[in-house]
């Protein structure tokens, strides 16, 4: 059950194991354990087995089954699939079935992956704990009294509990990396535009990116290789060709990368609010880099303290517009007994959206309103541009930047629910990469005394995924955090 992607794909491609067998194993593990974590919103058993059979057919016919042959994968439920529902964790889309597959779903299927189910999330990806799901919270496999992080908490928990070897999440302000850190798995947010957003239900369109959650850096590289690349249906996707990310993690290129690698540490990021155990784990991670010959250098990102403010203006502004379409007129929840059009809008949206989504729609609507547009939205755009420039300047001094992924290990369910601002600060380290459109990865780097995982975040220059994955793998190779599994 702890086979990684490569082992599964090799076994299935060579016919040593059938995709159906792999799929059935994972389905039975999900049946056994999902109730404990509530990682999934939906498991599509029959469709998954049928997809596995198609992979087995291809193997029998001698057709190349793809780099993900027979690999069971879970998708965050804001990624559109024709099979099953796509709810975004929201009551307003409780029964919504997408008539089309997202580009990443097409690509995964073409690579031989078997989509096994849809995972829980904070409603419309708005949150850092998965407690804002319109259906139920998800629990951290390391300690079920704690949150898995969010918003891709279902995907992170599913991978941590080995219900699937890999899952996709989406990352608007840290929603892949932060739950990856809190659940002790690898989470990668690619460069903005590296992976097509076609079929990802939009939250903050200029920030959203789909990324993999896996147990190892190599697995993240394999999944990224399968889903990355230009897409004519997403005008913001980047035209750059996709390198072989996994091949770059072989010993020879890694050794070459290790020589002279410069790790930048933005000291202003390590101030108040950083948990002592997280700080300790982070400093130890830096020591590992020093030990393998990398240079750890201080850099300055003076404008990053404005990231959270800028992010919550921009993301909510875009969200207020992206979520306007859920109005009860076409698909989605429609309130019963509405008196006229405006009443239909108000009631459908009031009933369909949860509190956090409403809060963000109101924030964003306000930020774009006449009279406030300049002071909030335009100013946040300027701050964003300046933060991007901070990173540009930092690349003169280092190859990748290192910070903790989250300021604390996983908090208890309910702990921050009544304090949205405290919750927003959970994204303090992850948001800058979204604002600047840069790739960033979280890898496991230790545990708290309470046994909760801690994550190390590395951020790279635009389209620097290869470099970023190599830097992450160099650390992973020296440690065994990624091999530890939560108790069952």
């Amino acid at each position: 059950m702890l086979d990684g992607i490569r082992q599964i794909a090799d076994a299935v491609s060579s016919g040593r194991r059938s995709a159906r067998d792999v799929c059935a194993d994972h389905l039975s593990r999900i049946r056994q354990l999902n109730a404990r974590y509530s990682a999934f919103l939906q498991v599509v058993d029959n469709d998954a087995l049928a997809a596995a059979d198609r992979v087995d057919d291809a193997v029998r016919r001698g057709q190349p089954p793809g780099p993900l042959a027979g690999v069971p994968l879970a998708l965050k439920d804001n990624i559109c699939t024709r099979i099953g529902r796509t709810t975004c964790g929201s009551r307003i889309l409780e029964r919504y079935v997408s008539p089309y597959d997202a580009t990443v779903v097409e690509r995964l299927t073409a690579a031989g992956a078997v989509i096994i189910g849809k995972t829980n999330l904070d409603e419309f990806a708005m949150g850092s704990s998965t407690e804002n799901s319109g259906f139920h919270p998800t629990r951290n496999p390391w300690n079920t009294a704690h949150v898995p992080g969010g918003s891709s908490g279902g995907s992170a928990a599913a991978v941590a509990a080995a219900l699937v070897p890999a899952a996709l999440g989406s990352d608007t302000g840290g929603s892949v990396r932060q739950p990856a850190a809190l659940c002790g798995v690898v989470g990668l947010k690619p460069t903005y535009g590296r992976v097509s957003r076609y079929g990802l239900v939009a939250y903050g369109s200029s920030l959203d990116q789909i990324g993999p959650l896996t147990r190892t850096v190599t697995d993240a590289a394999i999944v990224l290789g399968a889903i990355a690349g230009p897409d004519p249906r997403d005008a913001t996707s980047l035209p750059a060709p996709v390198p072989d990310y996994a091949a770059a993690l072989a010993d020879a290129p890694l050794a070459e990368r290790a020589a002279g690698l410069r790790i930048g540490v933005p000291r202003e990021c390590l101030g108040d609010g950083l948990d002592a155990e997280v700080r300790r784990a982070f400093e130890e991670a830096l020591a590992v880099y020093r030990r393998i010959g990398a240079r750890v250098v201080d850099v300055s990102l003076p404008r990053t303290p404005y990231s959270i403010a800028a992010y919550y203006v921009l993301a909510t502004a875009e969200a207020s517009s992206n979520l306007a379409r859920y109005d009860g007129v076409r698909d989605g929840h429609r309130a019963a007994g509405a008196q006229g059009l405006v009443d239909l809008y108000c009631r459908s949206r009031s009933e369909g959206f949860g509190a956090e989504v409403k809060r963000r729609i109101m924030l964003g609507t306000f930020a774009l309103s006449a009279g406030y547009h300049d002071a909030f939205y335009d100013k946040a755009r300027r701050a964003r541009a300046l933060i991007g420039r901070d990173f540009e300047q930092a690349w003169a001094h280092c190859d990748v930047l290192a910070t903790p992924t989250a300021p604390t290990p996983a908090f208890r369910l309910g702990e921050k629910l009544s304090d949205p601002l405290a919750m927003y600060l959970a994204d303090v380290f992850t948001v800058p990469a979204n604002l600047a459109g840069l790739p960033a990865i979280s890898v496991p780097c230790g545990f708290s005394t309470g046994g909760l995982p801690i994550g190390l975040q590395l951020t790279g220059p635009a389209l620097g995924e290869t470099l970023l994955l190599q830097a992450a793998r160099l650390y992973e190779r020296e440690t065994d955090w990624h091999t530890r599994r939560p108790p069952v």
């Binding site: 804001n78 990624i79 559109c80 796509t86 975004c88 889309l93 919504y96 997408s98 008539p99 089309y100 997202a102 957003r197 076609y198 079929g199 990802l200 239900v201 939009a202 903050g204 369109s205 200029s206 004519p232 249906r233 997403d234 005008a235 913001t236 502004a317 875009e318 207020s320 517009s321 306007a324 379409r325 109005d327 007129v329 076409r330 698909d331 059009l341 809008y345 609507t365 774009l368 309103s369 006449a370 547009h373 939205y377």
Partner: protein
């Protein structure tokens, strides 16, 4: 309007014109543009605004917009962006419209509008691209159905400065604009199909006792015909003057209002709106990257720009000797004007071609409810017909008869004008010996007329005309009149 006597009234009118572009597919998706399809049969995830779908620009729409902008003498932006304009309406699937607000494609142009024997320069403030909404259908009482086939159709919104001064001028501008977009092949601009719609901004400058007053601006929404545009402006001007006489209110920021047009009653009515409806919360659409316009692309389009109707009209007057009053009728339809030029290139006499176009060709076109180009007669045949007449092989009457025969259709390849002339016996004789015989016979039979023609100054002209007529009669109408005149002169001894 007796109370308005003694006031000097000047309407001030700006126009917003929406033109549907005739691209094959919609503005941001691959759905075909098709009028009259089953409701909601021409839709996809993108134009339905389904969760996760993303817009991708139709480059042809951008090209059409630039071509129109160039024809309107606009500056073409080097960078252009798309913005979201937010408002809730059932026919707007995303509850925002993708439009261009801050960085439109075309800016600062003008159009020289000939009206009442002067040219009025109408400044074009901007022209930008946006997507159309769907349609609300009210076929069943108490139920509003929504057809989204039209949603996502590319629209070019052309906005003039308030440079128009009467309903007539506004209508004339609209007519010329329709002609222009036809000419550029960028839009069918069919009014019945709602492919061209007008929203005039109207107010009135009232001069009274040496002082000037401006009435509050009113925007009349969604006018679907030249007639409605004209009538709405006329009505609105009168209404505003009347209202000013009653309340004296003048234009101020914030008191612009929207009114709708009731076509049956011929009046404008205030539209009920809430205050916040005016806050569209524009921001750059993050799904569509800013577009850089390659100057070479624009230069190529500028080179390929066809001669525009007004210039062409002037050339037709100069080259074809068509009167300035008649020329626009030919120049107004690009295919017809092209046909005229091609017929001339095929060897037709220009002046005669001009006459043919204004006489029998346009008569036939009117009869058949089509344009001259729509008659289906080739440029070569039209040219040959004019050449036969110029060379004296046929006369004008015969040309008309041949034209009719050319339209006759029938099987096989169409006969040429010359073949038809031969078949119908319409070719004029240019055989001087034969004509000389007819002249001699006519002179011998009409001694009195010969005498008058030779020596009676009072009757000379009439007598010669009479003799010519006699010769033509003897020839059965086939003698070339120029040769007849020459030979009569000769035999009369001049």
């Amino acid at each position: 309007m007796s109370a308005a006597e003694g006031l000097r009234i000047e309407p001030i009118i700006g126009l917003e014109v929406h033109v549907q572009l005739a691209t094959r597919t919609k503005m941001f998706c691959g759905c075909p543009l098709e009028f009259g399809a089953e409701p909601n049969a021409r839709v996809c995830a993108v134009c339905l605004g389904l969760p996760g779908a993303l817009p991708v620009i139709n480059r042809l729409a951008v090209e059409y917009a630039i071509r129109t902008g160039l024809a309107l003498q606009c500056r073409i932006a080097t960078h252009t962006r798309w913005d979201r304009k937010s408002y809730y309406y059932p026919d707007l699937p995303k509850n925002y419209q993708i439009s261009q607000y801050a960085a439109p494609l075309c800016l600062d142009g003008h159009f020289e509008l000939p009206h009442d024997h002067v040219i009025r320069k109408v400044r074009i403030r901007r022209a930008h691209l946006e997507e159309d909404a769907g349609k609300n259908l009210h076929d069943t009482p108490g139920v509003t159905a929504i057809d989204l086939n039209r949603a996502g159709t590319p629209l070019l919104e052309i906005v003039t400065e308030p440079d128009l001064r009467s309903a007539d001028e506004a209508r004339e501008f609209a007519v010329q604009l329709q002609r222009l977009v036809h000419y550029l092949h960028v839009s069918e601009a069919n009014m019945q199909m709602g492919q061209m719609r007008f929203e005039p901004n109207i107010n009135v400058r009232i001069s009274c006792d040496g002082r000037e007053h401006l009435t509050p601006i009113v925007e009349v929404k969604n006018l679907n015909s030249f007639r409605a545009l004209h009538a709405a402006i006329e009505y609105e001007v009168q209404r505003q003057v009347q209202e000013w006489l009653e309340d004296g209110r003048t234009a101020a920021s914030g008191n612009k209002s929207n009114r709708g047009w009731d076509d049956e009653r011929g009046i404008t009515l205030p539209q009920r709106e809430k205050e916040e409806a005016h806050d569209y919360r524009y921001f750059t659409d993050p799904d569509i990257p800013a577009l850089s316009i390659d100057p070479e692309w624009v230069a190529r389009m500028r080179d390929e720009m066809p001669e525009l109707p007004l210039t062409r009209s002037e050339r037709i007057v100069a080259e074809y000797k068509v009167s300035p009053r008649d020329a626009p009728a030919i120049a107004g339809d690009r295919a017809t004007a092209d046909l005229l030029d091609h017929a001339a290139e095929a060897g037709g006499d220009k002046q005669i071609l001009g006459k043919h176009f204004l006489s029998f060709w346009s008569a036939h076109a009117n009869q058949r409810g089509t344009t001259i180009a729509g008659l289906g007669v080739s440029a070569e045949h039209m040219g040959e017909l004019a050449r036969l007449q110029r060379d004296g092989l046929i006369n004008a009457t015969a040309a008309g008869q041949i034209a009719e025969a050319l339209l006759g259709g029938g099987d096989g390849p169409p006969a040429s004008p010359r073949q038809i002339a031969e078949r119908l016996g319409l070719l004029q004789s240019r055989d001087e010996d034969l004509i000389a015989e007819w002249v001699a016979a006519a002179l011998a039979a009409n001694a009195r007329a010969v005498e008058d023609a030779r020596g009676n100054p009072k009757k000379m002209q009439a007598a010669r005309g009479f003799l010519t007529g006699q010769v033509m009669k003897l020839s059965g109408g086939k003698a070339d009149p120029r040769i007849v005149a020459e030979l009569i002169d000769r035999q009369l001894g001049r």
